[in-house]
Every structure is written in structure tokens, then in C-alpha cells.
């Protein structure tokens, strides 16, 4: 049945053909499944059409994948987090959840063993957040060997969460100047991100994006071991980060 269109509707349809839409970015290739030679080694790097992306000033050059984390390369520079004096408590400011009295208490709430980097000593603060996945964060205050990054109250931050291959819980968008390097962490594979701001977004297992307030964007080491994904963010060199990661107990 032919639809009877009013003159206004015809004008609106015509207008649709004349809208100056932003240039559609290239949305392929998508992340591919790799042969599961080793479930822990799901780091994948996909090449993409950088030239087209740069021409479009847009996103999505490739991915690195560790269970629970997806890294998205952006060709647009990301905003540098502002260094402002904190006005809210750390846990609230970084959306880390509630404070925990001890590592053991956090592990009991999280339902998985929480490991502490012996090289850093006991954490200054411990947080636990139940959603979208159980997440424990160990926070180290700035000190001589852990200079503050973008947050004046954080010298190092270690996040630990149980992850599955199918779960993209934590996503990172990295800018064109962010250095990405595959590294070996404690006999398993990891990723080192450094050099330029990278954003973090959080997704539920159901696929909904959650507000991201974790935007320290310092140098970050991400690795996976025995069902748990670790993310160490600190204003330190790659060698120091790897050394710290190697002392998890």
C-alpha cells in the first residue's frame, strides 16, 4: 500500500539526502577469534586501514585482547586528564567502590584470591566493587619510588578482577600516540601502554557500558593469570612495572 506523504514529509525525506553527516569511519575489520592454542594468550593485534582512519580523523585501528579487557586504538588524540585538586574521596572519585579493611576481606567479597605485589608492600587502601564484575583495587599513595601521576593521591593502582574469554569488562581506548607493546609478565603475556592518555570504559557482562570515572591514564601494564586479569597503573617505567608485576604473591 502506497504511503500518502504530506508535503512536509516529502521535504523531510529530501532533507535527509542533504545532511552533512560526519564521515562514517571504517568499522571493519572487527576483532577476530584466534585459534585457542592457549586460552591465556588471547592477545591479538589486528591491523586496520590507518590511512583511511587518519583521513577521517577517526577511530579504530586495531585491538589487543586479554580476557576481560579490550583495547581499542583511536586515531584521534584523547583528552589529557586534568590535574585538579581532589574534592571527593579517592574511592568515589575513581569509582572504585567501597573501602575494605584488609586484602583478605576484599578477597572474601570478590570470591577470588587477591594477590599483592610484594615489591610494593602492603597497599595503603583497598577497594572492592561488586559490579559490573567483582573488582578489587589496591591503591598505593605517592612516595619517592612511586611518583604521583594525574591524581595527586595515587602513586600506583592495581586492579584485579576475574575474567572470562567472553567478557569484555574493561575497555581501553588509546590515542594515536600511545605506545602499545606486548610484554612477558611473570611468564605470561601482557600489554604495556605508555606515552599518551588512554581512556578506560567499563562494560557489564550483559554488554551495557558503565560510566567511566577511572581515567588516571598513566603508564599501564595489563596481564592475565589463572582466571584473573591484572591492571597496574603507575607513573613508572616499563621495567619497573614488570618488576612489580613479577612480585605478586
Amino acid at each position: 500500500m502506497a504511503e500518502q506523504l504530506s508535503p512536509l514529509e516529502r521535504e523531510l525525506f529530501a532533507l535527509g539526502g542533504e545532511i552533512a553527516w560526519p564521515l562514517t569511519p571504517r568499522l571493519v575489520p572487527l576483532r577476530r577469534r584466534r585459534p585457542q592454542v592457549d586460552r591465556r594468550l588471547l592477545i591479538a593485534l589486528l591491523a586496520a586501514a590507518l590511512a583511511a582512519l587518519l583521513a577521517a580523523g577517526a577511530v579504530a585501528a586495531g585491538y589487543l585482547h586479554i580476557p576481560g579487557i579490550e583495547i581499542l586504538r583511536s586515531s584521534r588524540p584523547l583528552p589529557t586528564p586534568s590535574k585538579t585538586l581532589p574534592t571527593t574521596p579517592l574511592g568515589e572519585r575513581l569509582d572504585l567502590g567501597g573501602s575494605e579493611p584488609s586484602v583478605a576481606a576484599a578477597a572474601a567479597d570478590a570470591g577470588f584470591p587477591v594477590r599483592v605485589p610484594a615489591g610494593l608492600g602492603p597497599p595503603d587502601e583497598i577497594f572492592f566493587k561488586a559490579t559490573p564484575v567483582p573488582l578489587v583495587t589496591l591503591v598505593y599513595a605517592p612516595r619517592a619510588d612511586l611518583p604521583a601521576g594525574t591524581d595527586p593521591e595515587v602513586g600506583a593502582l592495581l586492579m584485579e578482577f576475574r575474567s572470562a574469554d567472553s567478557t569484555n569488562f574493561l575497555g581501553k581506548t588509546v590515542g594515536p600516540d600511545t605506545h602499545i607493546e606486548q610484554v612477558s609478565v611473570d611468564a605470561t603475556q601482557g600489554v604495556w601502554l605508555a606515552g599518551a592518555p588512554h581512556e578506560v570504559f567499563v562494560e557489564s557482562t550483559a554488554g551495557s557500558a558503565f560510566p567511566d570515572r577511572v581515567r588516571l591514564a598513566g603508564n599501564t601494564l595489563i596481564w592475565y593469570r589463572a582466571g584473573v586479569t591484572y591492571r597496574l597503573e603507575a607513573n613508572v617505567s616499563k621495567e619497573r612495572a614488570l618488576a612489580i608485576a613479577g612480585t605478586l604473591r
Binding site: 521535504e11 539526502g17 542533504e18 553527516w21 572487527l30
Partner: protein
């Protein structure tokens, strides 16, 4: 000729999946993708890149957010292909995922800026050159229409933009916006009334 939405972007370099030179329809591509054919899914992505990106842009009012939403939607759609009813239309199913992603991203980004749509320069390639007077009139009318659209309440503007600017049908508009079809129809009717009133006021000066 303005590129019609959803006809793919062959220039982007992915070889199209075909049978004896005939482009596969959505159902055939979906069936192949469900069997693990990566190229078939890439063809679907190319086919609907414009539509997904623009639908997301209408919701996010931000190109970077729209891109991330569209990209994420394609990833999630692929993961969910196993649950997709093979005989169901792919477009509204995809648009529902895109709409969800875009709204989530807008909420996550905490953005409040309004959607800004601009008309491309008058006189597209292949069009007959209009007289200067006609061109001025057409440009004025476009500006009035866009201005009236911008003044609509966001819910009305969204439904008009999806239905007319993106040429979605009512079911697809409902899927993209996450609202019932009846709501789409009633909002469209009221939105068109508002637009007519605003345009008449503009004419009266």
C-alpha cells in the same frame, strides 16, 4: 547522488561476498556469518556502517561516541548472531543494538549537548544547476527546516530524524530508539504538527 544508507562501502576495500556476481542478501550473509564466515559478517558491517554510525550519531550527538557505539554494536551483534532468528530482518535487530549502545555511551559520557545537523552545500554532483533565485530559496527552506528540527524536543527530533532523515521505517525507528511502534507513530504525528507550526511562524516572521 547522495550515497544511500545501507548499500555498503565497496570503496573501503573489503571484497564483497557474492554468488555468481549477485550480492548476497542480508539473510544469506547472516546465515554464512553464523557458520563462522568472517567475510560474510564484514560484508554486513560494510553494508550497514553508514546506517549504524548515523543512527548512533543521532543519539550521541558526538562523532567519536557514535563511532565507538557503532563499532561496539557490530561486535556485540556478531557475538549474538547465534541467538538471532534467521528469518527475522537483520536491520531492525542491528539498529536495536546500535541504539542501546549509543544511549549507553551518551549516558556514560555525561554529554548534554544537542544534536547539530547541517545541510551539505546545495547542488550535488549530477543535479541540474538551479537558478540563483531557486538556489537561495532552497537553501533558505533547508535552513528553516533544520532550525525547526533543532527546536523540537529531543524525543520528537529523534523520531523525525530516524524516520525521515535516515529513512527508517516505523519498526526500525522503534528498534533504534527503544520505544514501541505506537509511540513512534504518535510522536511522529505530534512532531510533524509542531514542525508545521514552527514553519508557519517563520513564514509569518
Amino acid at each position: 547522488m547522495h550515497p544511500s544508507i545501507g548499500n555498503g562501502q565497496a570503496a573501503q576495500g573489503v571484497e564483497k561476498a557474492t554468488v555468481e556476481g549477485r550480492p548476497l542478501d542480508d539473510g544469506e550473509l547472516v546465515a554464512r556469518a553464523r557458520r563462522g564466515d568472517e567475510r560474510a559478517y564484514e560484508e554486513l558491517v560494510l553494508r550497514y556502517s553508514d546506517l549504524a554510525f548515523r543512527t548512533a550519531y543521532l543519539a550521541t550527538a558526538n562523532a567519536a561516541d557514535a563511532e565507538e557505539a557503532a563499532l561496539e554494536a557490530f561486535l556485540k551483534a556478531r557475538q549474538a548472531l547465534g541467538r538471532f532468528h534467521e528469518n527475522a530482518p537483520f536491520r531492525p535487530w542491528l539498529l536495536r543494538i546500535v541504539g542501546n549502545e549509543a544511549r549507553n555511551r551518551r549516558r556514560a559520557a555525561g554529554r548534554r549537548e544537542g544534536l547539530e545537523l547541517k545541510a551539505a552545500r546545495a547542488g550535488r554532483a549530477g543535479d541540474a544547476a538551479p537558478s540563483p533565485e531557486a538556489a537561495v530559496l532552497a537553501a533558505e527552506r533547508r535552513t528553516e527546516l533544520l532550525s525547526a528540527l533543532e527546536r523540537l524536543e529531543p524525543d520528537f527530533r529523534q523520531v523525525v530524524a530516524c524516520r525521515y532523515l535516515l529513512e527508517l521505517d516505523v519498526a526500525e525507528t522503534a528498534a533504534a530508539l527503544g520505544i514501541p511502534e505506537g509511540t513512534v507513530k504518535s510522536r511522529l504525528s505530534r512532531a510533524l504538527d509542531r514542525l508545521r507550526e514552527q514553519l508557519e511562524e517563520a513564514v509569518r516572521g
